[in-house]
C-alpha cells in the first residue's frame, strides 16, 4: 500500500511541477472556458429569469469541454515525448499510474472551475458561490476525471486523439452531466440537501463504480 501511495504521489508531484513550469494545460483550458462563456453570453439574453433556467446548463457545458481539453494534455505530451514508456518500465503498479494521473487532471480541472466562478458572476450575474454547488462540482468533476483519464490514455496513442477523446468521454459522462446540471439548478434555487441530495448520491455512486472500473481497465489500455 505504501508503494502505491509513494508511486502515485511521485507521478502527481511530477505532473504538477511540469504544469507549474509550462502552464500549458491550465491556460489552454481557461481560455477555452472563457470563450465558451462568452459565446453563451451572446446566445441568451442575460435576463435573470432565463439565466436561472439556462445557467447550470451553460456552466456544465463549459466545464465538460474544458475537462476534455485538460484530459487530453495529461497523456498527450507523455506519449509524444515517449516518456510514457518510462512509466511503463518502472515497477509501479498500473493503478498507481492511473491514480497519479487522475489526481493531476482533477486538480487542473478544479482549478479552472474555481477561476471560472467569478467570470460567470460577471457575465451572467450567476452567483455560484454556495456550498451545495461546490459539492456538486467536486463530485461531478471526479466523475469526469475517472473515465476521462482512462480514455485520455487510450486516445493519446491514436492519431485522431482530438476526435476520439470527446467521442469516448461524452456518452459515458452523460449521466454525470445530467446530474450536475440538475444538482446545480437545485443548489441555485437554494433547496439544500432535499433538492441536491439525490443527485449527489447518484454521482457518488457513479464515481465509485467508475473509479474502480477504470483503474481495473487501465492495465489493458496501456499494455502494448
Amino acid at each position: 500500500m505504501r508503494d502505491f501511495l509513494s508511486a502515485s504521489w511521485a507521478i502527481y508531484a511530477k505532473d504538477m511541477r511540469l504544469e507549474a513550469r509550462t502552464k500549458e494545460t491550465i491556460t489552454g483550458a481557461l481560455v477555452f472556458a472563457v470563450i465558451v462563456a462568452f459565446i453563451f453570453g451572446f446566445a441568451f439574453d442575460p435576463s435573470p429569469r432565463i439565466i436561472s433556467v439556462v445557467g447550470p446548463g451553460i456552466v456544465w457545458v463549459a466545464f465538460a469541454f474544458t475537462g476534455v481539453l485538460s484530459m487530453n494534455r495529461s497523456f498527450a505530451n507523455e506519449r509524444d515525448r515517449g516518456t510514457l514508456e518510462g512509466l511503463m518500465l518502472a515497477p509501479l503498479p498500473r493503478e498507481a499510474l492511473y491514480a497519479g494521473k487522475l489526481a493531476a487532471t482533477l486538480t487542473i480541472m478544479l482549478a479552472v472551475e474555481l477561476v471560472m466562478l467569478p467570470i460567470f458572476l460577471v457575465l451572467f450575474d450567476l452567483s455560484l458561490f454556495n456550498v451545495w454547488f461546490a459539492l456538486t462540482a467536486l463530485v461531478a468533476t471526479v466523475g469526469f476525471a475517472a473515465s476521462g483519464t482512462l480514455f485520455a490514455a487510450m486516445a493519446a496513442h491514436t492519431r485522431a486523439r482530438e476526435v476520439l477523446l470527446p467521442l469516448l468521454f461524452l456518452p459515458i459522462s452523460l449521466p454525470v452531466i445530467i446530474a450536475a446540471v440538475s444538482g446545480s439548478a437545485a443548489s441555485l434555487d437554494g433547496d439544500g440537501w432535499d433538492g441536491v441530495g439525490m443527485w449527489l448520491q447518484f454521482m457518488m455512486a457513479f464515481d465509485m463504480v467508475f473509479l474502480v472500473l477504470s483503474s481495473w481497465a487501465f492495465q489493458y489500455v496501456l499494455e502494448e
Partner: protein, 224 residues
C-alpha cells in the same frame, strides 16, 4: 449444419412475422396512432435486441480481456456490429412512430435516452477499433469501451428517468404502453423471438467470417 437450420428457421420466422403484424395484429386505438402503431412490432423488438447485443458484447469483452481467447473478441465484435444495426432500426422506427402520434421526432424518456447512448457507445466501439495503432490494442480498447458502456447503462436510465420526471409531464412515450391486448402481446413476442433469432444468426455468421479472416492472416504469416 446448425447454421443452415438456424438460417431456414429465422427466414421463415421473419416472413411469418411480416404477415402476422399486418394481418393478425389488431388495429390500435387512436391514442396510439391507429395503423402507424404497427411499427411498434419492429421498434420494441429491435430496441430490446439492441440491449441484448450490448450485454453479449460486454460479457464477451470481459472474458476476452481475462482469457485473451480470440473467439470471445470475435463474438463481441459481431454483436457490436449487429447491435449498431438494431439500435439504428429502433431509433428510426421510434422517430417515425413518435412524430405523428406525439408530435416530436424523439422522446427523451428513459428508454429513448438509453437506446441513444448505447447506440453512441457502439459507434465508439467500432471507431476505437478502427483508430487503434494495432489490431490487438484495438480489440482490447474496444473491449474496455463495451464494459464501461454496460456499466454506464443503469446510470443513464436512472438519470434520464429522474430528469424526464422533473421536466416533461409524463408523456406516454413509445415505452409507456399500458396493458396490451393479448393478440398484440402475442405478435410482439413472436416478433421478438424472430428478431432474437436474426441476431444470433448474424452473430454466428459474422464471427465465422472474422474467424476466416484471421485464419487467412495466419496462413499469410506462415508463408512469409
Amino acid at each position: 449444419m446448425v447454421g443452415r437450420i438456424l438460417l431456414m428457421a429465422v427466414s421463415l420466422a421473419l416472413l411469418a412475422n411480416v404477415v402476422l403484424i399486418f394481418q393478425y395484429a389488431p388495429t390500435a386505438s387512436t391514442a396510439l396512432g391507429v395503423q402507424i402503431q404497427r411499427i411498434f412490432y419492429f421498434h420494441v423488438p429491435s430496441a430490446i435486441v439492441g440491449l441484448i447485443s450490448f450485454a453479449v458484447a460486454a460479457v464477451a469483452s470481459v472474458l476476452y480481456l481475462k482469457r485473451r481467447v480470440r473467439a470471445w473478441d470475435r463474438v463481441a465484435w459481431a454483436s457490436a456490429e449487429a447491435g449498431t444495426v438494431f439500435f439504428t432500426v429502433a431509433i428510426v422506427t421510434g422517430a417515425i412512430w413518435a412524430k405523428p402520434v406525439w408530435q416530436t421526432w424523439w422522446v427523451w424518456d428513459a428508454n429513448g435516452t438509453l437506446t441513444f447512448v448505447l447506440w453512441l457507445m457502439f459507434i465508439t466501439y467500432l471507431v476505437v477499433r478502427a483508430y487503434a495503432p494495432t489490431t490487438e490494442r484495438g480489440a482490447r480498447w474496444a473491449a474496455v469501451v463495451a464494459v464501461l458502456g454496460a456499466a454506464v447503462a443503469p446510470f443513464v436510465y436512472m438519470a434520464a428517468d429522474w430528469w424526464a420526471g422533473l421536466h416533461t409531464e409524463r408523456v406516454t412515450g413509445p415505452g409507456a404502453q399500458g396493458s396490451l391486448e393479448d393478440r398484440m402481446f402475442l405478435v410482439l413476442m413472436f416478433s421478438l423471438t424472430a428478431f432474437v433469432g436474426l441476431f444470433s444468426l448474424l452473430i454466428v455468421q459474422r464471427s465465422a467470417q472474422l474467424a476466416n479472416e484471421e485464419a487467412l492472416e495466419e496462413l499469410r504469416r506462415q508463408l512469409i
